[in-house]
């Protein structure tokens, strides 16, 4: 009676292993194509616009509210210990090291990752990729690479903007609404934040950018060429990106702390 269950389990483990291998091979291929793709920078710029500039509004809005809620919660918590002046350092470190990169990556997966995956999936479904191959144009080189690089370039910039706007949100709530001393807020922040903390955030967001873009282009490029397949590819993009971002975040934090 247990035999079919075990059989299924083995099959699913095998399938996961195969997917992991396919991801690795695809990643190596993209890495090898990178120098050549950077040469055709016009295509990359277009994709930086698509993934980065068009995500700006949602990133800034989310950053503002995340910062504001951080200011409110941080103030409430710190007031119990009578140290509400350190709200600045709490908000800055929280945003720079964790919230900025992670929430930006999650939003990026939802806003830009899905767009990439569905676009590539639709190209696959409507045989555009096959047509390119027929014309001896490598679709990975012409279509996938610029999108991948556009995402990789956009992500750290988006995360930096997110952190900065978040900081002003926290400042708005902490200083303007709750009455934390403005000088204390900024000077405590400056005392607590080191260059390494900023760099940690940048490094994290760069890694997340690679991960999210890779998942999006892989899932889109390898989607089943039907309407359902495209839908499934976008869903998988969000799920896999989000989970892997959180997983990678833990590992990176454990390494860098």
């Amino acid at each position: 009676m247990a035999a079919p269950v075990i059989h299924e389990l083995v099959a699913s483990v095998r399938e996961s292993l195969r997917a992991l291998g396919a991801y690795a091979i695809f990643a190596v291929r993209l890495a090898r194509e990178t120098p050549r793709a950077l040469w055709r920078f016009g295509l990359v710029v277009e994709q930086v616009h698509n993934t980065g500039a068009l995500s700006l509004v949602i990133i800034m809005l989310s950053g503002l509210f995340v910062g504001m809620v951080l200011g409110l919660q941080g103030f409430d918590l710190l007031e119990r210990f009578g140290s509400e002046e350190s709200l600045g350092s709490v908000a800055a470190l929280g945003l720079l090291k964790e919230l900025g990169p992670v929430i930006t990556a999650l939003l990026f997966a939802g806003r830009a990752g899905t767009a990439l995956a569905s676009e590539l999936g639709l190209m696959r479904a409507t045989d555009q990729l096959a047509a390119m191959e027929m014309m001896a144009v490598d679709p990975v080189r012409r279509v996938v690479m610029p999108r991948f690089l556009g995402g990789v370039i956009s992500m750290p910039l988006l995360a930096a903007i997110f952190s900065l706007i978040g900081l002003f949100g926290a400042q708005l709530v902490g200083v303007q609404f709750m009455g934390v001393d403005s000088g204390q807020f900024w000077s405590q922040m400056r005392g607590a934040v080191e260059l390494d903390d900023v760099m940690e955030g940048v490094l994290k967001s760069a890694v997340f950018g690679v991960a999210c873009s890779l998942v999006a282009v892989y899932e889109g490029y390898h989607s089943v060429p039907t309407a359902e397949g495209v839908g499934r590819a976008t869903t998988r993009t969000v799920v896999i990106s989000s989970v892997s971002v959180l997983l990678i975040d833990y590992m990176l934090t454990a390494v860098m702390l």
Partner: protein, 166 residues
């Protein structure tokens, strides 16, 4: 054509904004001051005990930050901790008999290096060593000193009490 120009403008704006944000975070939020090149000069000081002093901690005179602790190492010739300081260029008139002490900012604050001016007519130059130093206070030592002195006080007091009864 107009379309691509608009796209490029938008992208340029986005990239500019991103780098501006990054620049702001690096320069304004962190405590690091960025000078062009190595300005200022170096001093060294040795201490019996540096406590929680860390590289990057401020060096201050009368509460004004005039430099930063650059590095802390152990000197096996003197068996003391050697602290390298970098002092800002404008502060080049520190008397060379000034003293340095490791102090704590606030009750739970970080440690910093305080310099008290001496009265010499000559000033520190690049590479000089501060001769008069005062180590960081280690709380455990302070407590044990206090306890020992209490105990020492009590013994003669008991002795004199006994003498009085006799």
């Amino acid at each position: 054509m107009r379309q691509t120009r608009a796209i490029e403008m938008g992208t340029g704006l986005f990239v500019l904004l991103g780098f501006a944000a990054l620049f702001f975070l690096v320069t304004q939020i962190t405590s690091r001051e960025f000078g062009l090149g190595d300005n200022g000069y170096r001093l060294t000081a040795t201490f019996e005990q540096v406590g929680g002093l860390k590289p990057g901690a401020p060096v201050s005179m009368s509460g004004v930050t005039i430099g930063r602790v650059e590095s802390i190492s152990y000197d096996f010739n003197e068996y003391r901790a050697r602290v390298m300081l970098r002092i800002g260029k404008p502060y080049d008139r520190i008397p060379d008999d000034s003293d340095a002490g490791i102090l704590t900012a606030g009750l739970l604050g970080g440690q910093y290096l305080g310099i008290g001016p001496g009265s010499s007519e000559t000033f520190f130059k690049d590479g000089d060593q501060i001769q008069f130093t005062q180590s960081a206070i280690v709380l455990e030592n302070l407590i044990s000193k206090f306890l020992f002195s209490k105990a020492a006080e009590q013994k003669p007091a008991e002795g004199s009490a006994q003498e009085a009864t006799q």
